[in-house]
């Protein structure tokens, strides 16, 4: 009955600790990662929590403090795990080529399959979404899917890779060959334990007009943009190179590392179980796969 008193004092202490925490954005973490991995690494060859946050980013809640509530987050995670035990939601990143099969209300009895490159991944919890893009019959098509939509029958990763940028929305303004993918593409299987390859391809943009001012976005995956000098001058004026030193912004925009560890410690046994079943399935698939050549 009286445990709340001790709890309260604990939470206050942890709050003050949080102010002194490490920042958790992917760039800032690199130096501390090795130090922490020895502490965080769970036993028997499981993945560390630092890896989890890249593989399962949607398990981390919205860092906006006004929207947070621990019980809601817990309920959300349990629902996500329940969905994940039914269908295999694989590890994927922006730049990964995927195929999504959904059961369609408009064509009953005939599931729809769409192949494309993931150009954006956002949202957290049950609201997480991703956008696939492809060029079909010389027509650019984009479809947004919700990761935990119960009408999704299958999510396949055809080529697991990353690109140089966090968002590939500039593919909308680039030449169509850069976002054309064969819909009958076969899945490429990466050897186990290899790190996710980064595709260093540079995309050529179409001439202006564009949907956004790409010259201001500091894009790495785009070839040299052919524009008059004044555009770059203006871009340099508006650039915010000091933002990466804004610790407060980083703090408000990320989940503290201790909390991340807490979250992943709670679900890691279930995630590990899912991973084991996925590996079994993968082995089976590679074994059964017929190699028919005409």
């Amino acid at each position: 009955m009286l445990s709340f008193i001790s709890k309260k004092s604990n939470s206050i202490a942890s709050n003050t600790r949080n102010f002194l925490r490490h920042s958790t954005s992917s760039q800032a973490l690199k130096p501390t990662e090795e130090v922490n991995s020895s502490n965080n690494k769970p036993k028997d060859g499981r993945k560390s929590y630092a890896e989890f946050r890249h593989i399962y980013p949607e398990f981390l809640p919205d860092p906006k403090i006004e929207f947070r509530n621990s019980i809601r987050e817990k309920l959300e995670r349990s629902d996500m795990i329940a969905r994940r035990t039914l269908i295999d939601i694989p590890e994927f990143y922006v730049g990964t080529i995927m195929a999504v099969t959904v059961s369609d209300k408009h064509t009953p009895g005939k599931p729809l399959r769409f192949v494309g490159i993931c150009i954006k991944r956002e949202g957290c919890g049950l609201r997480s979404t991703f956008i696939l893009r492809n060029v079909v019959d010389h027509q650019g098509v984009e479809v947004m899917y919700e990761l935990y939509d119960p009408t999704i029958q299958k999510i396949e990763v055809l080529r697991l890779e990353k690109r140089l940028d966090d968002e590939l929305l500039y593919l909308r303004d680039s030449l169509s060959e850069f976002s054309t993918f064969d819909s009958n593409m076969e899945a490429e299987i990466l050897a186990e334990g290899t790190p996710v390859p980064v595709n260093p391809i540079k995309v050529q943009l179409k001439p202006r007009p564009w949907l956004e001012r790409w010259e201001r976005k500091n894009l790495k995956g785009v070839e040299k943009i052919d524009l008059p000098e004044k555009f770059f001058k203006r871009a340099a004026e508006l650039a915010k190179p000091y933002e990466k030193y804004d610790l407060m912004k980083q703090y408000m925009g990320t989940i503290p590392e201790e909390e991340q560890n807490e979250i992943f410690a709670e679900i890691q046994s279930q995630l590990h179980k899912l991973e084991v079943t996925r590996k079994k399935m993968k082995r089976k698939r590679t074994f059964v796969k017929p190699t028919k050549l005409a």
């Binding site: 008193i5 509530n69 809601r72 059961s103 939509d149 119960p150």
Partner: protein
Amino acid sequence: MAFILSNIVSKTCVKSLEDKLLALSISASGTQIRERHIMNPPPRLRNPTWFTKKHRVVHNDEITTDNQEFVKEVVQDKYSNKDESPLLSEIAANAAEWQPTFKRTGVIARKIGIYPIWMKDGTKMTTTLLQVLDNHVIKYYTPEEYENSQPNKTRVMKKKGCLLLGAEGTDPSLLTKEYCGLFKNSGVIPKKFLARFFVSPDAALPPGTPINALHFQVGNFVDVRGKTIDRGFQGVMKRHGFKGMPASHGVTKTHRRGGNIGGGGEKARVWPGTKMPGHMGNRYRVLKGLKIWRINTKYNVLYVSGQNVPGDTNSIVTIYDTILPLRKPSNPVPFPTYLNTDEIHEEDLYDDDVHQFCDPTIEYNET
């Protein structure tokens, strides 16, 4: 209090005497005395009995840790005796049968966030999660008691009693003595939040009765009352959704202003109720007729439809059975509240239309 009461009584006595005298004088002299007559006197508001100072001024007394522990122990001893809590089976045995005209108590809850659910036909819906806190009945005022404490009694046809509920137990050493005294007879630890609910006398509950999320059933409709987000002093565009004025075409200095606020002639004044800039939000509003789609019995969470329940996330709301006539329950509901604690429930109770996350993937078949 007693002094004020006697004062009022004496005042009324004097007034009646004066009236009599006046009546006499009229009959005697025949002169007419006019007095100012107020048509609708403003109600003389009197705070309810539980409206006392809540928080104590905490001084830094530099108590040793031993003494702190001792205080904790004392508090624990005082509030751990469970003999006083009423026997739920006894209440259940004495309870009347539910009738559609009865009004049950509501509950105090916390809005904990927003969350999508999917229906069995694949459509998505947004729900608000309301966590029912550790509600306990603090006190019950019978209709007569409650009426007597009201200053200007009007004749009430359907008499309702008043049930005082508390939620979220807290450290009594932070509260004032008077506030803690409210909880004396209920045998529960002092609560952070209090709320009153008007109930039919048949739905009254003895002090100390716990109320949980199963007070409501899946598929029923509820009204949720909360305090809207405080947005401060706002202009008419944000506060009332006015269109504002053009950005260009010779418009100067009036882009977000309301424009004209009244006409000429007969009504050459600003009419009461004219929409103008002012304070927005931070007032109680009720959202009515929300369906309960799912109930989590472990954490006492109700999933109600809509994403516009008044208030911030983590703010306190009160939940009532709906007053909308077409959405009132037709089947019996737990009356006076859910009392069967022995029954074991599944962790999640779902409406029939809701797709559970552990259900297989939705497929559409040709018909």
